[in-house]
């Protein structure tokens, strides 16, 4: 049998092998090696080209090429059906739960403080810290609270001993800053504060404050209003309105309290705002000249404003938390919700 004859027979054999093939990775691979391998039939047929009769060479050449393409095409086809068969066969339950990455959570008050701090940072305020155990001087005297004055009753104080106490507000940080830096200064003071008040759903002996201070030439009450209004809109939503009511804090004059329209009812009146449509969120005012002078700042040349708010209360309002003790009980089911 000459080679051309042999080739024709090979092609017939290939076809019957394909027809009889049981589709497995192994059988397809065997077939590939048999026909397309280094020592395979196709290669053998090409190698024998010189032994073919000269008049048949052209025809033979064409025949082997066609055969080769046919084998390649068929084997590729078989390999594809193998992959398809495999993916179809795989059991896949799309209703099984996913495997989740593990993530922790920030304390809700950390979350609130972060949001508040960010807004003021974008307005050019920097952050200052200070000690929680303070002297009477920084907590009261330097802030224009006279000795034996009823203003001190506004803040029930924990004492360590005479003239040493747990800070009742973060304002002592402001005093320390005023004594450390020269104006202009613009800073906020996040931190924990202490009041000697019985622990209940509504009040705790520890809570947090963020106070702000801005001292420069020509700082006005009008500037304060703008700053607070922008803060309120950015934190509570752009439709929120603010209102300023005169109030009294020894370290500011004039002093004011700020209400925002209740963001729960939109000012219509609800249980949270006690039907008033307003929520009290902070105290503020122009820094009292006595406070500036006490810290060595010329109160004729410089003026400033200060404000302070309680992130605990704001967090409670924002999420509808009705018991402040939840913040310090640390039930993991509570903590995990603030992500």
């Amino acid at each position: 049998m000459d080679l051309y004859q042999e080739a024709k027979q090979n092609r017939i054999d290939f076809q019957s092998e394909i027809d009889a093939l049981e589709l497995t990775e192994q059988s397809v691979e065997n077939l590939r090696i048999k026909y397309l391998g280094k020592k395979g039939i196709i290669r053998y047929l090409f190698q024998g080209f010189s032994s073919v009769k000269p008049e048949e060479k052209k025809e033979y050449g064409q025949f082997v090429n066609v055969f080769k393409n046919e084998v390649e095409g068929k084997i590729e086809e078989l390999q594809e059906s193998l992959i398809k068969q495999k993916t179809v066969a795989e059991v896949f339950d799309h209703t099984m739960p996913g495997i989740r990455p593990q993530r922790g959570s920030l304390h809700p008050i950390s979350l609130t403080m972060r949001e508040i701090v960010k807004i003021f940072q974008e307005m050019g305020f920097d952050i200052e810290f200070g000690p929680e155990v303070e002297t009477d001087y920084y907590n009261f005297a330097a802030l224009n609270f006279p000795d034996n004055h009823p203003a001190r009753d506004m803040q029930d104080t924990f004492f360590v001993e005479k003239d040493i106490l747990l800070r009742t507000h973060t304002s002592p940080i402001q005093v320390r800053a005023m004594q450390k830096y020269q104006p202009p200064m613009r800073l906020i003071t996040p931190g924990r504060v202490f009041r000697n008040e019985a622990v209940s759903a509504r009040s705790h002996c520890i809570f947090h404050q963020i106070e702000g201070l801005y001292i420069d030439e020509n700082v006005t009450f009008a500037d304060l209003k703008t700053t607070i209004d922008i803060f309120a809109k950015r934190y509570f939503g752009k439709n929120v309105k603010t209102r300023f009511r005169p109030s009294f804090f020894p370290f500011v004059e004039p002093g004011a309290e700020v209400d925002v329209t209740c963001f729960i009812c939109g000012g219509e009146g609800c249980r949270v705002c006690k039907k008033t449509g307003w929520l009290e969120i902070m105290g503020c005012g122009m820094v009292d000249p006595n406070v500036l002078e006490e810290s060595g700042i010329d109160s004729e040349k410089y003026s400033g404003y200060a404000f302070g708010m309680g992130p605990d209360r704001i967090t409670m309002l924002k999420y509808g938390i009705d018991d402040i003790r939840l913040f310090f009980d640390s039930d993991i089911k509570f903590l995990k919700q603030f992500k």
Binding site: Q121, P131, E132, F159, L166, I206, F221, S303, S330, I332
Partner: protein, 796 residues
């Protein structure tokens, strides 16, 4: 303080509705809330007019009344004997429930139908009065509710929450003055009609002030021959409208003048004052007195006393004593009007833990001038209401004159502070309305004298506040742009702490906050036994110390969660601890710490993998990761002993103590904490970590030449530590060792009991060339030899 609208209108016209008044006062800085009518259910009662009265045929004491209720005539049986045709009366119709809970029904009384009830004051909760039915004002419209009637006759009442700087507003006149500044309405100060007798006060009483600091002024009047008894209706109604209970005409009048003028007055039964003498002096230590509330009180030398020739008769400015109290038998009333030093009264009130309406006002600063007005006012009212004669002249001992400042206010300065251009005339007018005397006025400034009732107005800035307060803070326009200060160096510590919080969250930990205030037991935490700071005035023993470690708080949190069925916890806290340090100004050394607690499984339960319980190496890994990410350099770990930990490691960095980590001893957890779970804890110092933290990220170019990996498997004594093996391997591997990974440990079958099998993966790499297999082979032989020789390791 409670005020009443009708009472307020005696002194000022109020061109506002009740709700607007509430809002205007609030915007003046006098935080005001309108009070609901004190008696609930008055809206269910209506006013009826009695059209006809006839005797009940079957009962002598009953009458049959025909009552017009605004729409129709109803028949009601009444038992009171003061009932008469034409009266306007409160009527409860069937279906209505009285404040006492009694429900009115249609009924038959001795055979006659009754469609409701005509009420007495006590039956509808307005007073204790049961002397017949309540008769309303003649011009009342039948058919309106009783709530409407009460509001229109007595007026709405308001609770005013005053700030401590405004003692003047503790009175109706004071609030009226603020309203007049707002509206420019005329303030009406009541005129006093005094009919003095020929008898002279100074013949009956003399005053000696031994403490001129505590008592700068003491004035007195004497009214003789009064008749103490119930107050007339107008007086009882007026003081009831601000929540005070009528007692007798003298006491009620002193309350009336208090609420009218803000001046606390005291009245003595003159005949109980011995020796015709009043002496003002400090108490002696341990002097005992019985105050009006029948309490026996022990005094200190801080407390100011009013005495007669023999004994104390009042604690000055705070409360009178029983021994000189006005009673039914009193006929001569001695009236005291004084100005006491605010600090003295405050100290006394604190010492005695006794705050009264009087002390509240004196410690905030009463009016030293209008004392005279107040005693004349009450004397004239006593004469009007209780009869008697007013002795001629008043005693007035003004031993230390109180000065009122003269303050110059620059118009430019007002504008500079507030940021608004105020009209000068407007400003001056408002100062006058507030009662300031204008001493001088130019185009630049105005000089005023502070009125005696405004101790808060001392400086220019105080007047600037008055300007914005009266003008309305709301009306100050807000600028559309602000200058900002640009920071070239933001607070790095804050950034660091926030980064730590974020990173610890990223590690899957939940942040929690624990109380700074802890019990003595928690403060003396055995791991450190640091000296703790104790509070002088704690809320309770449980909250009497400052925490010296974050761990006890975390253990409490774990306990709370265990009790609630939460057993898998990965918690962290970043917070301050305080340790007592004598040489510090605050006796405290304050450190910011971080702590991590792990217990239970580290992963949430899932179908795909098995949960693993936490262990010491999770905490160690966490710390190693932080050390790497924060570029703090080598950490060194040292095993230490502590009785409350079964395993404990001290971690140092650059020779400083960075943190401790360990497993709490099961005996400690069990016995001391009542916990039967394993707990791992880490606590370290944030301040130090921040110091060591290197914020600069340094980029290394990617390696150009391939790495080669080799495994080392050895069997060694169990007592041999990985650290020792690593040391040997690193030493022999030299500078081409790019990574050293310990990745398998095996103990058990096929290995001697005292041994363990360990596998390490070594990565070799050089930045300048490809390493040859033959070089690495040589190094590996050196390593193997050394491990065998130095550590007696058996190669596998």
């Amino acid at each position: 303080m409670i005020i009443n609208r009708n009472w307020l209108e005696k002194y000022i016209d109020i061109p506002f509705s009740d709700t607007d008044l509430e809002e205007h006062l609030t915007y003046l800085g006098l935080e005001t809330v309108m009070l609901k009518n004190p008696v609930a259910g008055l809206d269910k009662l209506i006013v009826g007019e009695i059209k006809q009265v006839e005797k009940h045929p079957e009962a002598d004491k009953l009458t049959i009344c025909q009552v017009f209720d605004g729409t129709e005539i109803k028949q009601i049986i009444c038992g009171a004997d003061n009932v008469a045709v034409g009266q306007k009366v409160p009527v409860a119709l069937p279906g209505c429930e009285l404040p006492g809970g009694f429900k009115i029904k249609r009924s038959k009384i001795r055979g006659v139908e009754s469609l409701g009830m005509i009420c007495a004051e006590d039956e509808i909760g307005l007073s204790d009065n049961h002397e017949g039915i309540m008769v309303l004002q003649e011009n009342t419209q039948p058919g309106i509710t009783m709530e409407n009637y009460i509001n229109s006759t007595i007026g709405a009442s308001f609770e005013v929450d005053l700030t401590p700087n405004r003692p003047d507003c503790n009175s109706h006149i004071g609030i009226a003055r603020d309203v007049s500044a707002l509206t420019d309405g005329e303030l009406r100060i009541p005129e006093i009609l005094l009919k003095e007798s020929e008898e002279r006060t100074e013949d009956h009483i003399s005053v000696d002030i031994l403490d001129e600091i505590g008592c700068p002024r003491y004035a007195a009047r004497l009214v003789k021959g009064v008749k103490v008894g119930p107050s007339p209706k107008w007086l009882a109604d007026t003081i009831s409208s601000v929540g005070l209970r009528p007692i007798n005409n003298i006491v009620d009048l002193s309350n009336f003048v208090l609420m009218e003028t803000g001046q606390p007055l005291h009245t003595f039964d003159y005949n109980k004052v011995a020796g015709k003498k009043i002496i003002v002096r400090k108490a002696k230590a341990n002097e005992k007195v019985t105050t009006l509330d029948s309490e026996v009180r022990t005094l200190t030398e801080d407390i100011l006393l009013i005495c007669d020739a023999e004994k104390p008769v009042a604690i000055a400015g705070i409360m009178g004593l029983e021994n000189s109290e006005i009673s039914k038998e009193t006929s001569d009333v001695l009236i005291e009007g004084a100005y006491f030093d605010p600090a003295t009264i405050r100290k006394g009130s604190k010492t005695l833990a006794l705050q009264t309406d009087a002390s509240y006002r004196f410690e905030r600063g009463a009016d030293p001038v209008n004392v005279l007005f107040a005693i004349d006012r009450i004397a004239s009212l006593i004469q009007q209401v209780a009869g008697g004669i007013i002795c001629k002249n008043r005693i007035d001992r003004y031993v230390r004159e109180i000065e009122f400042p003269e303050v110059t206010v620059r118009f430019k300065r007002i504008n500079k502070i507030i940021g608004y251009d105020f009209d000068k005339k407007w400003v001056v007018n408002k100062f006058q309305r507030l009662g300031c005397e204008i001493l001088e006025k130019t185009d630049e400034e105005v000089t005023v004298k502070t009125p005696s009732w405004r101790p808060d107005l001392e400086r220019e800035i105080d007047y600037i506040e008055e300007v914005v307060r009266i003008f309305g803070m709301e009306k100050i326009p807000e600028p559309k742009s602000l200058s900002i200060i640009l920071n070239d160096e933001p607070n790095k510590k804050h950034m660091f702490i926030e980064k730590m919080r974020t990173d610890l969250c990223g590690f899957g930990l939940n942040e929690n906050y624990n109380n700074t205030l802890v019990s003595q037991d928690m403060a003396k935490f055995e791991l450190y036994d640091r000296p703790a700071i104790e509070l002088a005035n704690p809320l309770s023993r449980e909250l009497a110390f400052l925490r010296t470690s974050l761990i006890p708080g975390l253990l409490n949190t774990a306990k709370l969660n265990f009790n609630r069925g939460n057993f898998d916890l990965k918690l962290f806290e970043i917070g301050n601890i305080q340790v007592r340090e004598e040489k510090s100004q605050t006796k405290a050394r304050e450190t910011m710490n971080f702590a991590v607690l792990m217990t239970g499984n580290t992963e949430i339960i899932n179908w795909s993998y098995r949960q693993r319980e936490a262990n010491l190496y999770y905490l160690k890994g966490l710390l190693e990761q932080i050390a790497e990410d924060y570029r703090i350099g080598e950490l060194s770990f040292e095993k230490i002993e502590n009785e409350i930990f079964s395993k404990l490691v001290r971690v140092t960095a650059k020779g400083q103590d960075l943190c401790l980590l360990g497993e709490l001893h099961p005996l400690y957890l069990n016995k001391k904490q009542g916990i039967d779970k394993n707990i791992w804890i880490l606590e370290g110092n944030v301040d130090l970590l921040f110091e060591l933290f290197d914020p600069e990220i340094r980029y290394n170019s990617l390696p150009k030449y391939p790495a080669t990996q080799r495994d080392v498997s050895i069997v060694v004594d169990r007592s041999l530590q990985i650290g020792d093996i690593e040391k040997v391997i690193r030493e022999k591997a030299g500078k081409n060792l790019a990574d050293f990974i310990f990745y398998d440990e095996y103990k058990g079958e096929n290995i001697e009991k005292s041994k363990r099998s360990l596998t390490f993966n070594l990565v070799f790499q050089n930045n300048e060339r490809t390493l040859l297999d033959s070089e690495i082979d040589k190094v590996m032989i050196k390593i193997h030899t050394a491990l065998h020789k130095e550590l007696n390791a058996e190669l596998r």
